[in-house]
């Protein structure tokens, strides 16, 4: 429990550092928000008045504190391009990206764990070699290319879904999930291939350790040794990987949303980057970071639960 508490504190400190970093980066590089809002033709007096009103003349750290506090309250500022509350713009995008990522993650786990165990059990066999080669090729697939091919094959040729026919979750939740299945698959596939490869090599290297010999010496069958002894140890590095993969998937969804025209966080991030709409960019980046950090924290805690050597140290 002490361990979990430590991880929560670490996460909060990291979140603080990340937001401060992002805030400062935008503060110093993105130029004057007042000018951005009013356009270049505004009189200096008006700009100055707005600066005063927005608190831009205060010390940076004070501005950061105000921004962070507002952010916690759910006020993420006002979009330059749309003149509307960023929170409103972002709020209904978060469930889209989160659902997409969770779907992809579940697919990855469901594909990778059984396949990884299977290949590890049959090392050196024909099927193992075939899976290894397929794996290598899939790992080399850029996720968006996988997305394009999936659109071509499942969308255009087999007509299993309508490319571009996104359904909002507020209208039809099942239609929404149905549409996300294919993009989720495109995100999950390369990561699943990596997980299979990692689990396989992890099982193999664990199987060479002394405790496996001990387990055999007690009369365990090969199966019992694998499931009762090796698997738990072999999964430890895989858990770390799954955590990193989940974080990557959150970021990877930015690209896949583009391929499948899904209005999630990635979409809005890209539009805002090209519009130089900094409050939105900042809000989305901080939201994604928050998701990533929470995932990392949960993984760390699970890690501590699985590996007794960590939590006690």
């Amino acid at each position: 429990m002490k361990y979990a508490g430590k991880k929560v504190i670490t996460m909060i400190i990291t979140l603080f550092a990340v937001t401060l970093f992002v805030f400062l980066a935008f503060h110093f590089i993105s130029g004057d928000p007042a000018t951005s809002m009013l356009g270049t033709e505004a009189t200096p007096e008006r700009v100055e008045a707005l600066r005063e009103e927005m608190g831009l003349n205060d010390p940076v750290l004070l501005q950061y504190g105000r921004w962070a506090l507002n952010f916690l309250k759910g006020d993420m500022g006002i979009s330059y391009s749309y003149r509307m509350s960023v929170s409103e713009m972002v709020a209904d995008k978060i469930p889209v990206t989160v659902t997409l990522t969770i779907l992809a993650f579940l697919m990855m786990v469901v594909i990778a764990i059984p396949l990884g165990i299977y290949t590890a059990k049959h090392v050196g066999g024909v099927i193992d070699r075939i899976i290894y080669m397929i794996n290598q090729v899939i790992m080399a697939f850029p996720p968006f290319f996988a997305g394009i091919l999936i659109t071509l094959v499942f969308g255009r040729i087999l007509k299993l879904f309508t490319p571009g026919g996104y359904v909002s979750y507020q209208k039809d939740f099942f239609g929404f999930v149905g549409y996300l299945i294919f993009p989720a698959f495109a995100i999950a596939l390369p990561k699943a291939a990596m997980a299979v490869k990692l689990l396989r090599s992890s099982v193999i290297s664990e199987s060479k350790l002394d405790y496996v010999r001990t387990a055999y010496s007690r009369g365990n069958s090969t199966k019992a040794v694998l499931y009762k002894h090796v698997l738990k140890n072999a999964l430890i590095p895989v858990i770390t990987f799954l955590g990193m993969a989940l974080a990557d998937m959150i970021a990877g969804s930015i690209i896949i949303e583009q391929v499948f025209s899904i209005p999630g966080l990635g979409r809005i991030l890209l539009t805002s980057i090209s519009n130089r709409d900094y409050p939105v960019v900042m809000a989305v980046i901080v939201c994604i970071s928050l998701l990533v950090l929470v995932v990392n924290m949960v993984v760390d805690i699970i890690y501590g639960l699985v590996d007794p050597r960590i939590s006690i140290e």
Binding site: M139, A140, F144, F145, L269, I285, S289, V292
Partner: protein, 267 residues
Amino acid sequence: MIRNGKKNYNLIVGSIITGFILLLILVGTFYTPYDPDAMDAASKFAGVSLKHPMGCDNFGRDIFSRVLEGSRTTFIVAAGTVFIGTFFGIIMGALTGYYGGIVDEILMRFNDAMFAFPSILLALLFISLFGSGKYQVILALGIAFIPSFARIVRSEFIKCKNMDYVKNAKLQGASNIRIMFVHILPNTVTVLLSAIMIGFNNAVLAEAGMSFLGIGVQPPDASLGRMLSEAQTYLFSAPTYAIFPGLIIILMVLGFSLLGDGLKSEE
């Protein structure tokens, strides 16, 4: 390449694929069948033929020529990224791993935070602040890659600095710099090499992804990712437009990852 009577297929196949890609890039540097940017309305969406081995795109540009140029751009960006990541990663990892202490603690906390961050997100942040283009992408990805290299080098240095041969070198009067870069660094080469292979692949995929999103390499530079994003619109009418650039990316990544695996099992 033969060990215990078993051929190292990974190394052989990986070398062949990588060799093929490098050859393409080398040839593309000096010669392309057509000007990659020359438009020709007559051959718009031309199919695969002897004249245009990969067909033509929506402006009638020769896809093969564009693929040659695009792979070169992608390769240069990936190589630049890995160079920046490795160079600064080694320095940072060596110093923090070898000396330890409070600086190490702070830098590593910072590193952990960066590492937890998907590199593409960091690159996006960078691009949104500094604009897009080839050099911005190299810089953005390069910086985003430093933490992972620093982490690997650091853990190798921590492992090595407690070895008796390092203590021995210290006893014989070797300076810290000499111990770090003459005694320890050569021992991290194996690990570093496989990290470089993986890093290179990640860089190829990240560059392609960013260019696909339109925030990476900008025209007139051709890039495989950009070609794919343009091709997406004409997916049904001209599938070769998407398939060939995609294939080259896959081959590039596949070659390096097989090579990396092969080298690892060779140790």
